[in-house]
């Protein structure tokens, strides 16, 4: 793999490219992206998962990939649990800090999209880093995005940044498929529901923005435990309520993509 100059990316074997984004860090984008990808796979789809967080890649640990590989000789994408994977975390040591400016991020992300043989996929899910910076710009400028899902938690401090993420996709004419509210509530052993991080923020944002509310994912300590142990909850506990929530989410995301269709390409001109 040789990171080089960017080019328009067509990904001919990939039917839909879905970005999982948020303006905010720590809302669970990687957890949502990983479990959504697995849920889509459980629905019978061919799925890839690209970790676009160059500075803090999470997919290796979440998918149980503990070794690093030589990018000049390794066969990428990797395959775990039936999903094709690519991450910066596969080629750098976990303790290595990527102290890079934007052009380097752009080079590597473009390489991940253009030089990794993704093959035939129904969905390529892209786990974006927080914010609205270089990684987002690279993807919206070069990748054929079918749409973006915005992840938020219920509280206002998350919604403020989720709005920015949503507005970014609007400005670059990428369809926003909808809002996912993560860590929405906790059901205790007494059966009572506790809204630890507030109530209704995701639905409120969806309504304000005129996009679909895709669903609420409850808090479950097993989510973090599974993520840390490299076996995502949808795979390890496929019958639990969280897995059912993700399967439902995958069904809704598929339907939203089918409804909207990917935006058509802008016409060019040969000079």
């Amino acid at each position: 793999m040789q990171p080089g100059a960017s080019q328009k990316i067509t990904l001919p074997g990939v039917k839909h490219v879905v970005a999982v984004a948020s303006g905010k860090g720590g809302v669970g984008k990687s957890t949502v992206a990983t479990n959504l990808a697995l849920a889509l796979h459980m629905l019978g789809r061919r799925v890839g998962l690209l970790d676009a967080d160059i500075y803090g890649p999470s997919i290796p640990i979440m998918m149980g990939v503990h070794e690093t590989f030589d990018p000049n000789t390794a066969q990428f994408p990797l395959d775990r649990y039936g999903i094709k994977l690519m991450s910066m975390g596969f080629i750098i040591k976990p303790e290595q800090a990527m102290i890079w400016r934007g052009p380097m991020v752009h080079k590597y992300l473009s390489a991940f999209l253009t030089q990794i043989p993704w093959g035939e996929l129904d969905y390529l899910v892209i786990d974006l880093p927080p914010g609205t910076g270089d990684a987002q710009l690279t993807l919206t400028q070069t990748a054929p995005l079918s749409g973006a899902v915005i992840v938020t938690t219920p509280q206002d401090v998350s919604l403020i940044d989720a709005r920015k993420g949503l507005e970014m996709f609007r400005q670059v004419n990428v369809p926003v498929l909808g809002i996912i509210e993560n860590m929405s509530f906790f059901v205790a052993t007494d059966g009572k529901r506790y809204e630890i991080f507030g109530n209704g923020g995701g639905k409120k944002l969806a309504q304000e923005a005129g996009v679909a509310f895709l669903g609420a994912i409850p808090i479950d300590p097993r989510v973090a435990e599974c993520g840390d142990h490299g076996d995502p909850i949808v795979h390890k506990y496929p019958d639990c309520d969280i897995a059912k929530a993700y399967l439902n989410l995958a069904t809704i995301v598929s339907a939203e993509i089918a409804k909207g269709g990917a935006p058509s390409e802008l016409p060019g001109l040969q000079l």
Binding site: T140, Q141, Q171, V174, E265, P267, L271
Partner: protein, 109 residues
């Protein structure tokens, strides 16, 4: 511009102009030289803010007539124009292109 208006066709008009047909029925015309003069890249914006330097030494590429050599879409929201002097850092968003339109209708309004 309607928020969802998109280019449906781009055409050269003679050697010196670009025409863009939009999905809302509008047809835009631009002189290439005016597009270069309005390049939105940070470098060009900074140059436009400086007073002209009468003693500036021209680069060899500036001595040849300036022409566009490529125009390509960037994502779903902009175009990048590459010029004969190698300049290619300007991204013209669809919104900006509509603002720059030189058609009679846009000039009047």
């Amino acid at each position: 511009m309607q928020p969802t208006a998109r280019p449906i066709a781009l055409r050269k008009e003679g050697d010196d102009r670009l025409r863009i047909d939009w999905s809302d029925g509008h047809n835009s015309i631009y002189a290439w030289k005016n597009l270069r003069a309005a390049c939105p890249c940070a470098g060009c914006r900074e140059e436009r803010e400086k007073p002209p330097d009468p003693f500036r030494i021209l680069k060899p590429a500036e001595l040849a007539p300036l022409k566009p050599v490529g125009i390509a879409p960037v994502g779903h929201y902009a175009y990048k124009i590459t010029w004969s002097d190698g300049h290619d850092t300007g991204l013209f968003t669809l919104e900006h292109l509509r603002q720059l339109c030189e058609c009679d209708l846009c000039k009047k309004s």
